[in-house]
C-alpha cells in the first residue's frame, strides 16, 4: 500500500484478551503478512505491556521501530500500532475512538464475554475506524451509530430503538445474574 507519506497511517489494531490471545485483530502493514509474524508481534506486544497499568490512562511503548498505544478495560486489551515517526497523539486519538466506540456499543459491559457475544459489532467498529490503515473516523458516537446502521431503517424511531435496546440489555443482565 503506497499512500502519501504525510498521511497518518495505523499499522494495526488489536483487541486481545487478558492472556494475550486474539479476539479481533486487523493488520494493515505488510510487515506482518503471515499469521506467524502476526502471532509473534502479538506475543511481544503482550509480554511488553501486560504488566503495566493501562487502566486509568492509556499507556504507550516503543519497540522494534513501532509505537504502540494501549488501554486495558476489564479483561480486554486494546492496542493501536503506528510507525515510530507517527504523531503519538494521533494514534492516541484512534485508540480513544476504538475503545470508546466498543464501550458504547456494548453499553459499558466491556469484557471478553460480551465482546465475543457481539463480535460482529467489534469487527464493524474496527472497520468504521480505519480503512486500509487510513483513519476514517475517530469520534466514538459517530462510529457507534454507523456500526448500528442507525438512520438506515427509518421505520424504527430513534427513541424507541434505544428503549428496546435497553430492554434487551436488562434481560441480558438478568440472565447473567441468574446463571451465577
Amino acid at each position: 500500500m503506497d499512500v502519501d507519506p504525510t498521511v497518518p497511517v495505523v499499522k494495526n489494531l488489536l483487541l486481545l484478551d487478558s492472556e494475550g490471545k486474539r479476539i479481533a485483530v486487523k493488520y494493515f502493514a505488510p510487515e506482518w503478512s503471515t499469521v506467524a509474524a502476526q502471532a509473534n508481534f502479538e506475543k511481544s506486544v503482550f509480554s511488553k505491556t501486560s504488566r503495566t497499568n493501562a487502566r486509568g490512562e492509556a499507556e504507550i511503548t516503543m519497540f522494534d521501530d513501532v509505537i504502540v498505544v494501549y488501554k486495558f478495560i476489564g479483561d480486554l486489551m486494546f492496542y493501536v500500532t503506528g510507525s515510530q515517526d507517527e504523531n503519538e497523539l494521533i494514534l492516541y486519538n484512534v485508540l480513544g475512538g476504538f475503545f470508546e466506540s466498543i464501550s458504547l456499543l456494548l453499553r459499558g459491559a466491556v469484557e471478553k464475554k460480551t465482546v465475543l457475544e457481539n463480535l460482529d459489532l467489534a469487527l464493524l467498529a474496527m472497520d468504521e475506524i480505519l480503512d486500509g490503515g487510513l483513519i476514517l473516523e475517530t469520534d466514538p458516537t459517530t462510529i457507534a451509530s454507523r456500526v448500528a446502521m442507525r438512520g438506515a431503517e427509518s421505520d424504527v424511531p430513534l427513541s424507541e430503538q434505544t428503549f428496546s435496546q435497553a430492554l434487551a440489555s436488562a434481560k441480558e443482565q438478568l440472565a447473567r445474574s441468574l446463571l451465577k
Binding site: 504525510t6 497518518p8 502471532a39 469487527l123 476514517l136 469520534d139 448500528a148
Partner: protein, 890 residues
C-alpha cells in the same frame, strides 16, 4: 499454540479445543469448539428462500471469526461463500447488509466473480440511505479494477461533494488508496476535492486535504500554493491541521535548501499552532519546529516550552511524546533542554519505563558533572525492570557521559560493572563490554579497575565472542599493569573451564604475559605445558608454538608479541597485489607501506565528537583547498608543509573596484601571505599585480619573495603571494601596511579589446597582522585530563586576568578562545545558562608541534565584570609564558 510459530498457515484458534480437561469455570465462548467445515455448512442458509437476518448475521460473524483467528479458506471454499453471500443482497435488513459489506471485503473473490455483486453494489451506491452509499463505495473501490472504475466514476465524483460526511469520507479515503494504481481517474476530480477541502465536516476536510496533497505531492510549487491558501483560512479538523503542519515543515525544509538564511517562511504560523486547542496539533507543531534543519535557539524556545508543559501531563502518551522529542533536541541543542531538567528528573520514577528511559538519557546528555552520581543512583533503581533495548540506550548514554566527564570514571565504571553482573542478552552485554573497552582506552586511570571488572565478568560469561575479546585485551593491557600476576589466575581458569575457542584465546593471552613479564616467564611455561594435552587442535597448536617461542625458538620472545604497526588495510592491499603477481617470491612485509592517511586519529576522536556541538566541518576543507593551491607553486615547494592557514580576511571594503582577501599560511620558518584578488570593474584589466608589504612594524620578518599575478581580468579570482622568512620555529609577530601595485589597462567598450598602453597605479589596503593565534593550531585531545597529567607540571604557569565588562560568560569564553585560536575540549566552550562560573578546557599545537593545554576558569559578578584564571601546561615553560603573553597583549 506452539505449533503456530512454525507453521505460517496454521490458525491461531483456540486452546479451548485442545485442553478439554480444563476447569469447569472456563470462560464461556460462543465460538467454543468452532470448526471451519461446520461453519461452511451453516453458510448454506444464505441460499434459503426465506432468509433469517439474525441467523445469517451470526453465521457471517462466525466466518469472520475464523478468518480473524488465522484460518484460511481454499479458493473453492471462498468462491462458494462469496456466491452464497451475494444472495443476501436480496434482504432488506440494514444490519445484515452491513455485515455483508464487511465479509465481502475479507473474502476477496477473483476479479471475474466481482461482476456478480457490482450491480447490487451500484444499486446501493445510488440508495437514499447514506450508510448504504458509503459502504457500497468502500467495497466497490476495494474490489474493482480500472475498467469497472471507469463505469462508476461518475457516481464517485458526485459522492466527493455528497452532503453526508460518511459518504464523502468514504470516497475520499478510497481515492487515497486508488491513487497508487489508478491516479488518472482521481486526478479528474480535483475541482470536487477542492470543494470538499472547504467542508464544514472535520473528517471530510481532513480526507480532502490529504487527497489534494497526495495528488500534488510531486509538484513543489503546487504544494507551496496549497499550503499558502490553507494557512490563511481556519482549518476545522485537528487532523487536517496536523497534515498542514507536516506540509509546512516540508515547504520550510525545501525553501531552506534553495535560498540562504532568510527568515523562515511560515515559522510564525507554526508557532501559532503551538497555541491550538487540540494537543495533537500543538505537539505536531512543536515536533516540526524541533526537527527544522539548523533551528536556532530562539526558534526552539516556544516549542520546548509547550513540550515542557506536556512533561507534567497526567497522560502517559503526552509525556512520552514530549520526552521523546526533547531527547532528540538534546542531541543537537543540549542547552535548549536544560530548562526542563527538573520536570525530566521527576520522570525518572515514571511508571512507564519507556518514558523513564528517555528522561534518563536526555538528562545524561544535558546534565553537568555534579549531578552524575545522583543520576546514577536513580538509574540503578530502575535498571532491572526495563527491557534490554532500553538498557543498551542507557549504557551508551553513560559511556558518552564518562567520556565527557572523565573525572567521574570511578562512579560510572562501577555502575557499568554492576549492570554487567545482572542478567541480560548478548547485545546488552556487548554494549556494556564495548563501553568498558572504550573507557579503558580513553581514560588511563580507569584501566586497572576496568580490567578487574572484566576479569570478574569472564568468570561467568556465557558469550564466547565477549570472552575472547576480553582475553585478548587482557593479553595486551595486562602485562603493562603494576601487578600483572593477578590476571593469570583468571586467564588460566578459562583454559580449564571453557570451550575450545575461549581456551585458545586464553592460551594466546597467557603467552603474552610470559613474553612481556620476566618474573612470570617460568610460571607461564608450566601453565602452557598443561594446555599441550588439550583435546582441541587449535589450543594444542597455539600452546606448542608459544612454548617454543618462549623458550627462545621459532623467533623467540619477540614473535609472541608482534609489534604490528602495519595498518590492516595496507596489509590487505599488499597481499592482494602479491596474490595477483603469483607466488615466485616470498611475501615481504617490509614492502607494505606503514604510513596511511591519519585515520586512526580520526577514529579516536569519533566517540568524543558526538558530545561536542557539531564542529564546523567546512573550515578545514577550505584550508585544504588553499593548501592544494600552494602546492601547485614551485616557488613555495621548498618551504615544507603548511602548519596552519588562517581564515580568509577581507582587506578592502565591499563593492570597491578591487576585492582583496588575504589568507595567512604559516610554515616552519616562513609565513606566506596569499592575496586573492578580484577585479570588479568591467572596463579595465590589471596586469602585474602584487602587494607591497611594509615590514617596519615587523622586525623579525624578512621578505624572501614576491609572486605577482600576471593579469587580473574582470570577475575572475587570481592570486599573488608574498613570502616572508622568520627565525625557524619562532612566533614572530608584526603588523603590515599593504599597498596593492598594478598596471591598469583600459578596455575599449566598443570593441572589447584591451588598449596597448597602460599606467602604473597603487591602491591602499587594510593592515594585516600576524598574531600568536596564527601559530596555534586547534587540535582537540580526546581526554583532556590524561594529556594534562602527562605534561610536565614544571611547565605550568598560572595567572589571573580581569576581562572587564561582558554581556555574558559565554561571550567572554568565546572571546578568549578566539584570541588563543585553540580548540575547546569536551564541549567546555558552551556555558550553561545563568552559570556564575565556568571552566573551559582548550588544547592546541604550536608551530614546531608543541602541545599546549590551557585550563580557563571564568567567574562573573553581579555587575557583569568577568575575571579569568588561566593555567597553561605545555612542553616547555617558555611556551607557557608565550601563551600568557598572548592574553596580556590582547
Amino acid at each position: 499454540m506452539a505449533a503456530t510459530a512454525q507453521d505460517p498457515s496454521a490458525p491461531l484458534r483456540g486452546p479451548e479445543k485442545k485442553d478439554e480437561d480444563r476447569d469447569e469455570d472456563t470462560e464461556y465462548s460462543p465460538f467454543y469448539g468452532i470448526e471451519k467445515g461446520a461453519v461452511l455448512q451453516e453458510a448454506r442458509i444464505f441460499n434459503d428462500a426465506h432468509i433469517d437476518p439474525r441467523k445469517c448475521q451470526q453465521v457471517i460473524t462466525k466466518l469472520l471469526y475464523l478468518l480473524c483467528q488465522g484460518e484460511t479458506f481454499s479458493q473453492k471454499e471462498a468462491t462458494e461463500v462469496f456466491f452464497s453471500v451475494t444472495k443476501l443482497f436480496q434482504n432488506k435488513d440494514a444490519n445484515l447488509r452491513r455485515m455483508v459489506y464487511l465479509v465481502v471485503k475479507d473474502v476477496c473473490p477473483a476479479s471475474d466473480e466481482v461482476i456478480m455483486i457490482t450491480s447490487s453494489l451500484m444499486k446501493d451506491m445510488n440508495s437514499k440511505t447514506d450508510l448504504y452509499r458509503s459502504n457500497a463505495i468502500r467495497v466497490l473501490c476495494s474490489i474493482t479494477d480500472a475498467q469497472l472504475l471507469g463505469q462508476i466514476e461518475r457516481y464517485l465524483k458526485q459522492a466527493v461533494v455528497d452532503k453526508s460526511p460518511v459518504v464523502a469520507s468514504a470516497v475520499l479515503v478510497s481515492a487515497l488508496h486508488l491513487l497508487s494504481h489508478n491516479s488518472e481517474i482521481v486526478k479528474r476530480w480535483t475541482n470536487e476535492i477542492q470543494e470538499a477541502v472547504q467542508s464544514k465536516q472535520p473528517m471530510v476536510q481532513f480526507h480532502a486535504v490529504a487527497l489534494l496533497h497526495a495528488l500534488r505531492a510531486n509538484d513543489r510549487l503546487a504544494v507551496s500554493k496549497l499550503v499558502t491558501s490553507l494557512t490563511k483560512g481556519p482549518v476545522r479538523s485537528p487532523l487536517a491541521q496536523c497534515l498542514l503542519v507536516r506540509y509546512v515543515a516540508q515547504v520550510i525544509s525545501e525553501s531552506q535548501a534553495a535560498s540562504g538564511n532568510d527568515s523562515r517562511p511560515f515559522y510564525d504560523w507554526l508557532e501559532s499552532c503551538l497555541r491550538h486547542k487540540a494537543e495533537m496539533v500543538i505537539f505536531e507543531a512543536a515536533r516540526a519546529i524541533c526537527n527544522m534543519a539548523e533551528v536556532s535557539a530562539r526558534e526552539l524556545t516556544p516549542a520546548v516550552t509547550v513540550l515542557q508543559l506536556f512533561l507534567s501531563s497526567s497522560k502517559p502518551v503526552l509525556r512520552f511524546a514530549a520526552v521523546r522529542t526533547l531527547n532528540k533536541v538534546a542531541m543537537t541543542h543540549p542547552m535548549a533542554v536544560t530548562n526542563c531538567n527538573i520536570d525530566m528528573e521527576n520522570l525518572i520514577s515514571d511508571q512507564n519505563r519507556s518514558i523513564a528511559t528517555l528522561a534518563i538519557t536526555t538528562l545524561l546528555k544535558t546534565g553537568n558533572e555534579s549531578s552524575v552520581e545522583r543520576l546514577l543512583k536513580q538509574i540503578g533503581n530502575f535498571m532491572s525492570d526495563i527491557a534490554d533495548e532500553f538498557k543498551i540506550v542507557v549504557v551508551e548514554a553513560i559511556r558518552s557521559l564518562c567520556l565527557k566527564f572523565p573525572q567521574k570514571y570511578r562512579a560510572l565504571m562501577n555502575f557499568l560493572s554492576n549492570v554487567l553482573r545482572e542478567d541480560g542478552g548478548f547485545e546488552y552485554k556487548k554494549a556494556i563490554v564495548d563501553s568498558i573497552l572504550i573507557l579503558i582506552r580513553e581514560i588511563p586511570d580507569a584501566k586497572e579497575p576496568g580490567l578487574g571488572h572484566l576479569c570478574e565478568f569472564i568468570e561467568d560469561c556465557e558469550f564466547t565472542y565477549l570472552s575472547t575479546q576480553i582475553l585478548h585485551l587482557l593479553g595486551v593491557e595486562g602485562p603493562k599493569t603494576k601487578d600483572p600476576a593477578k590476571y593469570i589466575r583468571f586467564i588460566y581458569n578459562r583454559i580449564i573451564l571453557e570451550n575450545a575457542t575461549v581456551r585458545a584465546a586464553a592460551v594466546s593471552s597467557l603467552a603474552r604475559f610470559g613474553a612481556l613479564v620476566q618474573e612470570l616467564h617460568p610460571r607461564i611455561l608450566i601453565l602452557l605445558r598443561r594446555a599441550l594435552h588439550d583435546n582441541d587442535d587449535e589450543v594444542r597448536d597455539r600452546a606448542t608454538l608459544y612454548l617454543q617461542q618462549l623458550e627462545g625458538q621459532a623467533g623467540g620472545l619477540d614473535a609472541v608479541d608482534v609489534k604490528w604497526n602495519i595498518p590492516a588495510k595496507n596489509l590487505e592491499q599488499g597481499l592482494k597485489k602479491y596474490m595477483e603477481n603469483g607466488f615466485q617470491k616470498p611475501f615481504d612485509l617490509a614492502s607494505v607501506p606503514v604510513a596511511v592517511a591519519a585515520s586512526p586519529a580520526k577514529e579516536r576522536k569519533a566517540p568524543g565528537r558526538t558530545l561536542a556541538a557539531p564542529a564546523p566541518t567546512q573550515a578545514p576543507k577550505k584550508q585544504d583547498d588553499h593548501a592544494a593551491l600552494l602546492k601547485t607553486l614551485p616557488q613555495l615547494a621548498g618551504l615544507g608543509p603548511v602548519f596552519k592557514s588562517s581564515a580568509p580576511a577581507q582587506l578592502t571594503e565591499e563593492e570597491t573596484e578591487y576585492n582583496i582577501v588575504v589568507v595567512k599560511h604559516v610554515f616552519a620558518s616562513h609565513v606566506v601571505f596569499q592575496f586573492n584578488c578580484t577585479n570588479t570593474v568591467a572596463e579595465q584589466v590589471l596586469e602585474n599585480v602584487s602587494v607591497a608589504m611594509d615590514l617596519a612594524e615587523a622586525e623579525d620578518f624578512e621578505e624572501e619573495a614576491v609572486l605577482p599575478l600576471a593579469s587580473m581580468a574582470y570577475g575572475s579570482v587570481g592570486q599573488t603571494y608574498v613570502v616572508l622568512a622568520r627565525p625557524e620555529g619562532s612566533m614572530a609577530l608584526g603588523k603590515f601596511v599593504n599597498i596593492l601595485k598594478f598596471k591598469v589597462k583600459e578596455i575599449d567598450p566598443s570593441t572589447g579589446e584591451t588598449e596597448e598602453e597602460g599606467y602604473e597605479d597603487e591602491y591602499q589596503l587594510e593592515d594585516v597582522e600576524v598574531t600568536p593565534a596564527d601559530y596555534i593550531k586547534p587540535v582537540a585531545v580526546a581526554n583532556f585530563r590524561s594529556v594534562w597529567e602527562e605534561l610536565d607540571p614544571e611547565s605550568e604557569m598560572a595567572d589571573d586576568y580581569g576581562l572587564g565588562l561582558r554581556d555574558s560568560l559565554q561571550d567572554a569564553v568565546e572571546a578568549v578562545i578566539g584570541i588563543l585560536g585553540m580548540q575547546a575540549c569536551e564541549g567546555s566552550d558552551a556555558v550553561p545558562p545563568n552559570a556564575r562560573s565556568h571552566t573551559a578546557l582548550l588544547a592546541g599545537v604550536i608551530v614546531g608541534d608543541v602541545q599546549v593545554l590551557v585550563r580557563l576558569s571564568f567567574g562573573i559578578d553581579v555587575s557583569r565584570q568577568v575575571a579569568m584564571k588561566m593555567v597553561v601546561r605545555s612542553d616547555g615553560r617558555d611556551v607557557s609564558e608565550a601563551i600568557h603573553q598572548i592574553i596580556q597583549d590582547a
